[in-house]
Amino acid sequence: MKKVLKQGMVVSLVLAVSLVATACGDKSSATDAEGNGGKAKEITLLNVSYDPTRELYSEFNEVFAAHWEQKSGQKVKIRQSHGGSGKQGRAVIDGLDADVVTLALGYDIDAVQQAGLIHEGWQQKYDHNSSPYTSTIVFLVRKGNPKGIKDWDDLIKDGIEVITPNPQTSGGARWNYLAAWGYAMHQNNNDEVKAQEFVKELYENVPVLDSGARGATTTFVERGLGDVLLAWENEAWLSVEELGPDKFDIVYPSESIIAEPPVAVVDKNIDKKGTREVAEAYLEYLYSEEGQTIAAENYYRPTLDSVKSKFEGAFPEIKLFTIDEEFGGWAAVHEKHFRDGGIFTQIYAPK
């Protein structure tokens, strides 16, 4: 019996080894094919992005492909991948062969960099902190603004329900939190204790803490829960456009944060695949007149002056602060606010 058992084990071991071997074999032949892809007529780029940029990039990709073919005679096909920003970053770390990442937070790209896939200093590689377009955090309220919400102060009043996702599960929600924090700091002469009290009161008015931004929008729009939704400006405009301007109004607070969704090439992948030239051109083209116009049409704030002036009035001027000047960058923000035991978790500590 024992002998038979042993034989079985040997057979299974051989099977396992051959399985692994064939898997490896497949992989090497696959990379060969891709290696040749550099010289072939058509190249493929993979842009790993976050949820709300789907429409933006499907428009941009077409324009860029035409531009690139005209410039270099090469056909380029761009694949898109969308999902929660943090999840997308993790997928790239775990081996999704992205050529470029266009995520919601510098923090997520930092994580990819720390995994050794992107060279240090990526955020200085392109203009405006490598953020070709920006956005900000605004309020979406029900039509006619029945609760009279004008500014951040109104959000901590009794009886106001604020809808915003959990900053610990949603990258985008971290901008909401930081916008409120920055406002409270400015109102209280940079008194952190008071700022923390303000943010605590704000989150006490949050009846449902959704895990992601789209979930929060659904809660506000479909379930009819809450008086105000904290949202990215572009998302707010999209909601109004899609759901009818007769249902919601957008309120601009007196000040807010500049949300900078940055872009970067994934150095390790493009060097392996030989796509550096086209990947870099792809990101640079986001800064061009055409790229900026597409961004603006999708309600992202353009950074190029000529396009800015073309869309004057579409993006109201409010006082904006950046994460770097206000908080000293993402690493500091994470350490202070969002890690376990940080200020956000203290808000929910039992008394």
């Binding site: 058992l5 034989q7 099977l15 449902v208 803490l209 895990s211």
Partner: protein, 277 residues
Amino acid sequence: MHSSTSKRGVLPGFGITMGYSVLYISLVVLIPLSALLLNSTGLTWEKFWDVATDSRVLASYKVSFLTAAAAGLIDTVLGLLIAWVLVRYDFPGKNIFDAMIDLPFALPTAVAGVSLTAIYSANGWIGSLFEPLGIKIAFTPIGITLALMFIGIPFVVRTVQPVLQELDAEVEEAAATLGASRFRTFRSVVLPELLPPLLTGFALAFARGIGEYGSVVFISGNMPMKTEIAPLLIMSKLEQFDYAGATAVALILLFISFVLLLLINSLQRKVRKTAKE
């Protein structure tokens, strides 16, 4: 020669089938689980304990286990009823009804979560009926329990159904001729046979409920210390690229579930033994 055949047992091929089983259990279960362990080795023991016993994490275990247990218990009763109706009675559309039981298996859990939330929230079909009574369903533990009941019910029905089908009607008839009431027959003849599958069904529904993520995040409201489930905390740690912390919480969850399932299993064996005696 003779001795070797006698040692072989009645059915040939034990060695190779056992080898296959070991290979596949390794590939599908053991290797991923050991990767889980490996991931948490980034933590010192002290840090591991800090993460695992953080008050917010503890509160989330409580929510996860209590709602999963409640949903499992309700499913056990409802599942028995459904299985009973399906086995004992004939009615038009029975086949369709029977097939529908498995739908929660096939439905992506996020879809279930979104539709359940739509129905049970304050402006939904059912939620709006309860709202005037001051009962909130969505975004409370009641909502979580309902979502877990939905995804757990097939486990109970599908484990009880075959046993009920195998049950001899003659035994019940004998009990009846001996003068037992319907209730007595059920309690002393039918129920002992059904207890082991009911326990299995409960254990499966309970275990599924503990780990459930997709259908719950939408309906729970995710309020820390109140309606936040443990799997959401794991996701939240992953979102912060804290792999080690996430696996620490997952390991504790896995450990408690394993102990509970072990308890249920041994209870089940005991029940089966007493039923046979």
